[in-house]
Amino acid sequence: MAWRRQLVGLSTIITVALAWYLATSVTGFISGGRFPSPVDTWAAFRQISGRGYADGTLLAHALHSLRLVAMGFAVAIATGVPLGLLMGWSRRAEALINPVFLLIRPIPPLAWIPLAILWLGLGDAAKIMVIWFAAFVPAVINSFAGVRAVEPALLEAARMLGTPPWRFITEVLAPSASPMIFTGLRLSLQASWTTLVAAELVGALFGLGRVLNLAQQDIYPGMILVGMLAVAICGWLTTGLLALGEARALAWNQGESRPAS
């Protein structure tokens, strides 16, 4: 039955593409100045892939953005997950950190962009900082909630077995919270892309957001669409990569029903 569903999905995409072609190129129902035709888009794609646009080829822009997301996301994991685990593990740490966290949390990550640019300029550092802030919050919250949701009997079993603190965190708390941690990472990754594109739109010298920004200034709908599609594909790739990591890390979790959120 799987191939049938795929067939339905494929035919939907073909229908949409056909409708797009009809509405733009054939009938002119949608003018090319508002939304590009498939032909315009293809031309824009050819241009950015070959000669380049906004000082680089599509691949170079995409790799640049990917690299920033990967770095910001990595920093967010490396700081957010341990902090969440710590807050879940120790009531004292929670009491100490949570007030600061609650204060910062309602600030939308995008609101940090001006400050980041002011501090770090238009370069990579500012983007990484903003992505870090955006991806940090879901990583912390879900790791924290994951630890708090650990079955009490498992904690008692670990204590009964004389498990020392570090091993307690790495072999009991972290794996137990890992389904929730991965939920947090999925949200973090999403936030990373959103924030990066926004940050590059506001001010960047390079990257997919820069392509979008320049294409808007040039009134170049075909290029805008190419940029949007490139962001979508990059997001889809990284999400897939994360899902792969999750499937590996949570292989023990197969067949067990756990809440997805």
Binding site: A153, R159, L161, T163, E171, P175, S176, W252
Partner: protein, 262 residues
């Protein structure tokens, strides 16, 4: 000498208005290598007794000591078998059993030897590398018992360990535990609400009153078992058919019944 002593233990939960008196003046000794079962109406605090020995809870008054040492925190000298198994789902059977040994900083060779031994003892050889979710309830509880036994603990604390199993698996595990108690005798505190199980397994059965729980009476099973030579039977149903078994079971049941009805 690994005996368990309850010395005039009182246990309260909560504070002020909401304070409940869970255990009242528990005075009890479980002797070295004795198998003592506690039965009692639900909510009487029998599990709390076990949790005091395990170190998961502290007595409000009085003291609990194991092998002459006062209990202050959980530790591998008092191994617990939980009703819901409490196996780490991300560790294989072997990994679960190994954790306590690694915590003791035991060398790899010694650990491997001990694990192989306990796997054999619990008939788990072919399941060593399975994750808990791949095992049946009975098998999971075998792993949990192996995890406790491998530590070579002073005392074994079992909190309704077969309560979550189906009737047939339960019988198998009860027979298994009797076999284990003969091969590797340990001081055991066993909590159950099933009178038959208590009489079948224990040397002595302590009956508790309703909350605030206290020890109502202690019934000696061991002398009857030895006098009537219950051990000549392999199967639990043959033992349960004996007049002497029925007599003890009925006696404990009536004692318990008074508590439930009053």
């Amino acid at each position: 000498m690994a005996s368990i002593r309850f010395d005039k233990v009182q246990k309260y939960f909560g504070r002020g208005e909401k304070r409940t008196h869970a255990l009242a003046n528990i005075d009890l000794e479980i002797r070295d290598r004795e198998f003592l079962a506690i039965v009692g109406p639900s909510g009487c605090g029998k599990t709390t007794c076990l949790r005091l020995v395990a170190g998961f809870e502290a007595a409000s008054e009085g003291a609990v000591s194991v092998a002459g040492k006062r209990v202050t925190e959980p530790g591998p000298d008092r191994a617990v078998v939980f009703q819901q198994f409490a196996l780490f789902p991300w560790k294989t059977a072997r990994g679960n059993i190994d954790l306590g040994l690694r915590n003791k900083r035991m060398g790899g060779e010694e650990r491997a030897k001990r694990i192989a031994d306990v796997l054999k003892l619990m008939n788990l050889d072919s399941h060593a590398d399975a994750f808990p979710h791949q095992l049946s309830g009975g098998m999971q509880q075998r792993v949990a018992i192996a995890r406790a036994y491998v530590l070579d603990p002073e005392v074994l604390l079992m909190d309704e360990p077969f309560g979550a199993l189906d009737a047939q698996t339960r019988v198998v595990m009860q027979e298994e535990l009797v076999r284990l108690a003969r091969v590797r005798p340990r001081t055991v505190l066993f909590i159950t609400h099933a009178v038959e199980e208590a009489v079948y397994l224990a040397d002595r059965v302590a009956v508790m009153t309703r909350r605030p729980g206290t020890i109502k009476e202690i019934v000696d099973v061991k002398s009857m078992r030895e006098a009537e030579d219950w051990n000549r039977f392999e199967r639990i149903e043959d033992v349960m058919d004996l007049d002497s078994f029925v007599h003890l079971r009925t006696r404990i049941w009536k004692s318990l019944r008074e508590e439930k009805d009053s």
